[in-house]
Symmetry: C2
Amino acid sequence: MAKNSDQEQRSGPEFTPFRMHGDLLTTTLLAFLRNWNAYGYQLAQQLAQAGLPAFDSGTVYRTLRQLEKTGLVSSFWDTSESGPARRMYSLTKAGDLFLSSWIDVLGRYQAVLQKTIRGFDPEEIKADRQEPPRADSA
Amino acid sequence: MAKNSDQEQRSGPEFTPFRMHGDLLTTTLLAFLRNWNAYGYQLAQQLAQAGLPAFDSGTVYRTLRQLEKTGLVSSFWDTSESGPARRMYSLTKAGDLFLSSWIDVLGRYQAVLQKTIRGFDPEEIKADRQEPPRADSA
DNA sequence: GTTGATAGATGTAGATTACACATAGCGACG
DNA sequence: CGTCGCTATGTGTAATCTACATCTATCAAC
């Protein structure tokens, strides 16, 4: 499933289509795991259903394993259901702390964008010229 | 909580300290350029002053060149001031479109985090157990 | 026994990044 | 003059990350 045909939206000429990368994928995964445990396949589905950009399931699995290696999540094999065994993941204390810190960083990131682009709303991005902070040229 | 001296001290085992990566660095740069033109060194300083995580100046320069290669920004040598020549960057129409699209994506990303973590505020992250979305076991 | 959905993982080429280092203009100082 | 220090922009390289294709395996339906 999720064969990428979900919603390939590229609104521009030929830029790299949006994808979930690094921090964004990582933290989305962590956020999903914050309220309930889940396994990779399920997380991949949630990602797709959340209206987020394309992702690669192989990357999802590898990202989860890497998160485990760094101690942000932990996992165990769940064989209680029929079908292939599932590796159930849950957020660790460290993962929770990491996520909190990330949210802090994200807040600053947002502040930068908001300071530059009024309202964070594409519709409001019209014209809004200001002077440079200190271009102090000429 | 996530006190995390965000300078170099890490509160956990051995997490990768926060850095500006890929989309985040790219779009912050684009956002800075949206309202006024600037050159690499200046952008790197603004990044640092914005309270954002560590970054690498080499990466900033390379990222800017790559953005130029894909047409999101354009540049020219500015030799009007004394000192080393500066490569002045400005956002192109394409870059503006890209940024707008990114803001759209970011909105969905935020929605996911907000849905999971109430209020986006670390203080409100206390306890908030819910049932899985569709763990549909048995 | 073949197909299809679920579930997880890896091989690999190409892209991205961090870190160290290189180049160059110019002002200040002795 | 020499050179130190700050400004300004890069590059070499190893490590890491990612996309895409491919692989194993369970189990239900046919």
